[in-house]
Amino acid sequence: MAGLGTGRAVLFVVPALALIAAFLVFPALWTLYLGVLKYDLAGSNAAAPQFVGLGNYTDALTDPRFANSVLLTLAFVGLSAVLGQNGLGFLLAATLRRAVGWVRMLVNGLVLLSWILPGTVVVFLWQALLDRNGGTLNALLDTPGAAWTLDHPLATIVVFNIWRGTAFSMLLYSAALDAVPTSHLETARLYGSGPLRTFRDVVLPRIRGHILTNTLLITLWTFNDFTPYMLTGGGPEHRSETLPVYVYRMSIEGGQLGFGSAISLIMLVINLVIALFYLRLLRRRGG
C-alpha cells in the first residue's frame, strides 16, 4: 500500500476525529438524551431530571404553538429564501452582467455589505429603519406611527432575510451564468430566439444544478436562522416565532431544556428530509 501506512494515517486523523466527537457527536447524542428527560433549567427537575420517554415528542407534536411555528418556518423559508433570495439573486446576477463596470461594482458592493455585516449590527440598523417613532421607513413613506414589526411581523422578517441573504444567491448565479458559453446564447439569438426562450432552452438546463444546490443551501440556512429573533423576538403573539426561535424561547426563556432538545431533534429530521429531497432532484439530472 502506498502512502503513510495505516498506523500513521490513523494518527493524523485522530485529532480531527476527537474534535468532531467532542463538539459535534457528543452534543448531538446529549441532545438526544435530554430529549427523553423532563429536564428544566431550575427547580426539582433540574436537580433530578425525570425520564419521560417520548413524552416531550408527543407534547410537541400536539402543541398548537409548535404547529404554528412549523407553518411560520415553512412560510418564512418559502417566501424569503426559495422565492425571495433565489429570485432576486438570479435577477441581480443576470442584470448586472450587462451593466457598466461602476454600476456593477456599486451594486455588488452594497449587496455584499448586507451579507457580511454582523447580525447584531444589521438588526440595529433595521430597528432604526422600522422604528415606530422616527424610523427611517416611516419618514420615507410618510406614515408616522406605523408599527411594522407589530403589524406585519412575518413580512418584516421575510423582507429582512431577503435583504440579508440575497448576496449569496447573486454570487452563485453570477458564477453559474459565467459558465454558459457566449456562443450558445448567440447561436440561439442568431436563429431568432428571444431572451425568455433562450433562457428556457439554453441557460436553464445548464444551471439547473446550480439552482438546486443554491436552493438547498439557502433553505437549510434560512430554516435554522436565528436572526429574526433579534428583530421581532418571535412576537407579537408568536406571529414570527420560527422553529429556532421557538426552541430558544422554550428551552432558554421557558427553562424546559428537555422539551427544547426534543424539538431540536425534530428540526434536524426536517432538515434531513429537505436535504434528501434536493439531493434526489440533483441526482435525477445525471440520468
Partner: protein
C-alpha cells in the same frame, strides 16, 4: 442565396479601438469567401458584425438586396457555426439539429423529419440519439453544420471552422466543407488565421490587417501576386524572400547577385524584390541572372526540401525537389522563374506594376 454587400462598414469599440475600419466589399451569390489575417486583425469582429452580434458603428451592410445594418441577428437570415460548435449539451443530436426549426415553431414531427434528412446527408444518421459529449470533434462539427443547414439561411458564417480538429482530420474536413458548400450553393464567409486553409477552400480571400483589407483576390492571385509586403509575408507556407535591391540601367543589384530589371520602374532607385522559394530553381553551377550563396540549413518538406542559401544580403529560401538536394556547405545559385520576380515600393510596401 444572396449577395453580401459591405459599404464603408465600421466597428469602433467604446474605448476607441477600430476593429473594422471602413470596409467596402461585395461577396457574390454562392461564393465561398475567406477572411484571413493574424490574430487581432478584426476578421472575427467583421464576421460578427455581419451576423449582427456586434453592432456596426458606421456604414451599411446588405444581404441579398436587403439592408440589414440595424436588424437583430435573428432577422438577418444567416446561420453561424462557432469555433466551439456551440452544441447544446442537454439535447440529443436530433434536437440540436432541429433547434432552429423549433424556434420557427415547426411542428415536432415535421422538424424531426427535416432534421433527420439533413443529418443523413452529413453522415449523422447513426448518431441522432446521442448527446454532443458522446461525439468526436469531427462529428460535433458536422452536427453544428447540419444545424446551420437545416435553418436554410441565405448565408453561412463560419468562425474558424477547422481549428478545433486535429491536423489529420482538418485536411479531410477541408475537402468535406468545400464539397458541402458547393453542393448547397449558399453564400459562405469563413474566418481563418491559417493561410493554407484559406488557399485550399476559398473562391476568394480577403487578407486583413488592423481592421483593413490589404488584398482581395482568388487564392491564385493572392499567392502569386501579393499586393503588398504584408500579404507576401503572410501567405505561403514558406515565407517569401524579400530582399533589398538597387535599380541601375536595366539591372536589379542585390547583395547576392544581380537580376534583369523589368521596364517601367521610372526613376526609382531603391526597391524590395520579392520571390517565393517555390518560384526559385536551384543550380549547383554558376548561371547568369542568379543569386548565389552557401547552402546552410536543409529542411525536408516531403517531396521537396527548403534550402536556405546564406548570402551577403541575408538568407534566401529555395524549394528544391527531393532528388536534387544539395550538400550543406556547398555553393549554390537560385534562379528566378520568368515573370515571378515581384518588386515592392520600399516606403509603402505596395506591389509595383511590372
Amino acid at each position: 442565396m444572396a449577395t453580401i454587400e459591405l459599404a464603408a462598414l465600421e466597428k469602433t469599440y467604446p474605448g476607441g479601438v477600430r476593429a473594422v475600419d471602413g470596409l467596402s466589399l461585395t461577396i457574390g451569390d454562392g461564393e465561398f469567401f475567406a477572411l484571413l489575417g493574424p490574430s487581432g486583425c478584426g476578421k472575427t469582429t467583421l464576421l460578427r458584425t455581419i451576423a449582427g452580434l456586434e453592432e456596426a458603428t458606421g456604414g451599411s451592410l446588405s444581404i441579398g438586396e436587403r439592408e440589414v445594418t440595424r436588424l437583430a441577428p435573428g432577422q438577418r437570415d444567416v446561420a453561424m457555426v462557432f469555433q466551439d460548435y456551440a452544441l447544446f449539451p442537454h439535447m440529443t443530436v436530433l434536437d440540436n439539429i432541429a433547434y432552429p426549426l423549433r424556434i420557427k415553431r415547426v411542428a415536432r414531427a415535421a422538424r424531426h423529419e427535416k432534421a433527420r434528412q439533413t443529418g443523413d446527408g452529413l453522415e449523422l444518421a447513426e448518431l441522432m440519439a446521442r448527446r454532443p459529449a458522446e461525439l468526436s470533434g469531427g462529428q460535433q462539427q458536422r452536427v453544428a453544420l447540419a444545424r446551420a443547414v437545416v435553418a436554410h439561411p441565405s448565408a453561412f458564417l463560419f468562425d474558424e471552422p477547422l481549428s478545433n480538429l486535429d491536423a489529420r482530420l482538418r485536411l479531410s474536413a477541408r475537402t468535406f466543407l468545400k464539397r458541402l458548400q458547393r453542393e448547397l450553393g449558399v453564400t459562405t464567409i469563413f474566418v481563418t488565421h491559417d493561410q493554407a486553409e484559406a488557399l485550399a477552400m476559398a473562391d476568394r480571400i480577403a487578407v486583413m490587417e488592423a481592421g483593413r483589407i490589404r488584398q482581395v483576390g482568388t487564392p491564385r492571385e493572392v499567392f502569386g501576386r501579393p499586393a503588398n509586403t504584408f500579404v507576401a509575408n503572410f501567405i505561403g507556407s514558406t515565407p517569401m524572400n524579400l530582399l533589398p535591391a538597387t535599380v541601375t540601367d536595366h539591372r536589379l543589384l542585390l547583395a547576392a547577385g544581380s537580376l534583369p530589371a523589368p521596364s517601367g520602374l521610372g526613376a526609382r532607385r531603391e526597391v524590395t524584390v520579392g520571390i517565393r522559394p517555390e518560384y526559385l530553381d536551384f543550380s549547383a553551377t554558376a548561371v547568369p541572372d542568379a543569386l548565389s550563396g552557401t547552402v546552410g540549413i536543409v529542411e525536408h518538406l516531403g517531396t521537396s526540401s527548403l534550402v536556405t542559401l546564406e548570402t551577403d544580403g541575408g538568407p534566401i529560401g529555395v524549394v528544391v525537389p527531393e532528388e536534387a538536394e544539395p550538400a550543406a556547405g556547398s555553393t549554390g545559385w537560385a534562379v528566378p522563374r520568368p515573370g515571378r520576380v515581384l518588386l515592392y515600393d520600399n516606403e509603402t510596401g505596395d506591389l509595383l506594376p511590372t
